[in-house]
Symmetry: C2
Subunit: 99 residues, 2 copies
DNA sequence: TTACTAGTTCGAAAATCATAGAACAACCAA
DNA sequence: TTGGTTGTTCTATGATTTTCGAACTAGTAA
């Protein structure tokens, strides 16, 4: 489908990760991925136009928070665990537990 | 000088705190407060116009991350520790340790 | 080939945000 | 009272962000 680019975790500054998580829809995406491990875009519980969803996935990907792999016509998204453990310790727990 | 309003911590959603920390200047303010406990606006190591700085302090205050108290002509700002311990566990450490 | 599905990219509109000058209020000190 | 300091509020401008329709690419399947 397309060659997805994922940044080096170390090159992502904190404010970029914070910005990626400053949107209600993107937090909802992260929580869905926490619950289901791996989801295609159209399986996400988000009521937005395709183009908008694609934009949000790009923001999360650029911030090093998710990884996308192609499988047939769909692309499967998952949380980039090492980003949180290594670069942003505690952040994933915050997303998981915070109201 | 003015009656500063501080929100109930519980009413601050995660995306609001994330947005407050999605700006390089505001992260710098938080780090200065981590180091010095309490600082007036004009003591912060930020090269911005007064009006801009006042805006950033308002964003941090509205997100429940800092508390401001008046003392004479100046207003002293400090990190609202209970916000982090109680509402956003791990976030303060992230600000402290993250590059 | 044709049709369908999944997702991206382009272009544009609306909303939000960062920035700062100018005027202002409040306090302090001479 | 006059002047200096501290910070807010108003207003405006430029930049960024969110949103989505439309056109597009790539894979799958009939």
């Amino acid at each position: 489908m397309k060659a997805y680019v994922h940044p080096e975790i170390e090159s992502v500054p904190l404010e970029k990760a914070m910005h990626a998580l400053s949107d209600r829809s993107r937090i909802a995406i992260m929580r869905a991925l926490l619950e289901h491990q791996e989801l295609a875009c159209n399986e996400l519980p988000i009521e937005l136009a395709k183009a908008t969803l694609s934009h949000h996935m790009g923001v999360l990907r650029d911030a090093g928070l998710i990884v996308t792999r192609v499988e047939g016509t769909k692309c499967l998204n998952a949380i980039r665990e090492e980003a949180f453990v290594h670069q942003f310790p505690g952040l994933l727990e915050l997303i998981r537990t915070c109201k």
